[in-house]
Symmetry: C2
Subunit: 323 residues, 2 copies
Amino acid sequence: MANYPIVERLLAGDRRALARIVTLIENNAPEARPILAQLHTHGGHAHIVGLTGSPGAGKSTLVMQLARELRRREQRIGIIAVDPSSPFSGGAILGDRIRMQELAGDPNVFIRSMASRGSLGGLATATRDAVRALDAAGFDTILIETVGAGQAEVEIVRAAQTVIVVTVPGMGDDIQAIKAGILEIADIFVVNKADRPGADQTAAELRMLLSLDEQRKERAWRVPIVKTSAASGEGVPELADKLAAHLASLRETGQLGSRSGRQARSEMLALLHQALLDKIAATISTEDWNRLIDEVVERQTDPYSAAGEIARRIGLAAAQEQD
Amino acid sequence: MANYPIVERLLAGDRRALARIVTLIENNAPEARPILAQLHTHGGHAHIVGLTGSPGAGKSTLVMQLARELRRREQRIGIIAVDPSSPFSGGAILGDRIRMQELAGDPNVFIRSMASRGSLGGLATATRDAVRALDAAGFDTILIETVGAGQAEVEIVRAAQTVIVVTVPGMGDDIQAIKAGILEIADIFVVNKADRPGADQTAAELRMLLSLDEQRKERAWRVPIVKTSAASGEGVPELADKLAAHLASLRETGQLGSRSGRQARSEMLALLHQALLDKIAATISTEDWNRLIDEVVERQTDPYSAAGEIARRIGLAAAQEQD
């Protein structure tokens, strides 16, 4: 099947075509899906890196420094800044974008911020799709940066191949950073602002917490803790080295393939779950749905019968239940 | 519709009928569902309380003391001990059951342990269904106790009306306790083993963490922090008072109804999601499913087309996509 013209332009390196596609994704435009389907078959070459951590940990500056370092290594870099807490894109991170001006003028760097227009699931899907577009466009490393470090952010960075969790010296922030299961998803820890007092202690505490994680013990990859000062750029080359080392480890142990398989499986189930919700929305009126919920709460019916009624009406009931 | 004989026996107070039904639930027996459908319409009277917190926080002893205190208040008590980390029920918690002998001889107390036989979702469903059976059997308070404090436990206690998070003096345990979004779900905090040094400091740290939670500020209920010594029973009457106060607050603010509505909605969506997975399993062979995943990973197809193919084969595709 021939590619869409906009896909051909993106593959030829046209930044405006890429920007236009990301906008279609952000707006959840129906025409995005066939485009994304074509883009998918052209991707699979980028190293996808997620960065999360408490607000104020200096992630934006770190991302900028990391992008600079990777540019020195002749890589083309895509950056997606995601803010699940804000319905506006570009607002709070406008300052960062100005600071990123140096990078933004570089044709080998593409920066885009994305914000929550609807549900969290929608933002996670939009981010994954934007990564798909940047991957097809040939960027070597794609950095996904989240504003905060909550459940939403965990969901978003889970789509990455390498997850960096950024923290800073001081206990309060550590507690924030390890909330919401973040400890479990980290492939690399960064103690940023390491020129501040307490950096070594924070690194030691993280090492201790990691040693308590039983599941880690079975893994080949030992999570490194890298101390950086994003302001001065100290530690950033080491972080870039660790990124490359993690990717190599994923490849050597065959985990890159199994992670891709898990992610594909999880994306397909999410698409099918969305198809289920779409079918419910198209078939069952809000009044009917709310009436059923009320009847369950008031004990006039039970959840199994109520769900069974909906399953029958959307054609999902198993054969024996349709009799 | 007439009730099943076993339902009639349960409603008449027959403990063996209740035990039999909980076993059917645990075994995921197909005959459990119509029984549960009938039980649902007889419930809605119990106060459902979830207890979670780090292993070693003394939850089992606390549950025993709390049950004793509620018995003094003439309540009938159901206790479900849930262990998502173990495929065996009754094993690790057998010691607790022996300690609970005093309660177990009381006809107004029903104790049951449940463990993970399959998926986490399965255990959460089984726990919710066991609560449904105990509720219909007329227990005034149902205590759901989890062994650990991970994402699985959060999922399980989310079905409760009141969530108690148990911690002990000392920072390491605090960090464990507030992991995985546990801070957000607590209605009552307990600092157990409060005779140990550092109890006041732990309480102060929790108070500080709670004050950082922006969403809390809009709520009528201010999370109390109760210091207990489960060994001596100190603080347990106050905890029982707070339980009653939380239930009263839920009723006064209308939140009991909105929580029930949210839980019914979430249960119906879970049942429909399960119906989707059942339909996929009944229609698509494992070979076909794995082949599709492989083709997505190998970029021979894209996830939208692969999910669309499955949606069509299970009859879920929207009308325009079926052309």
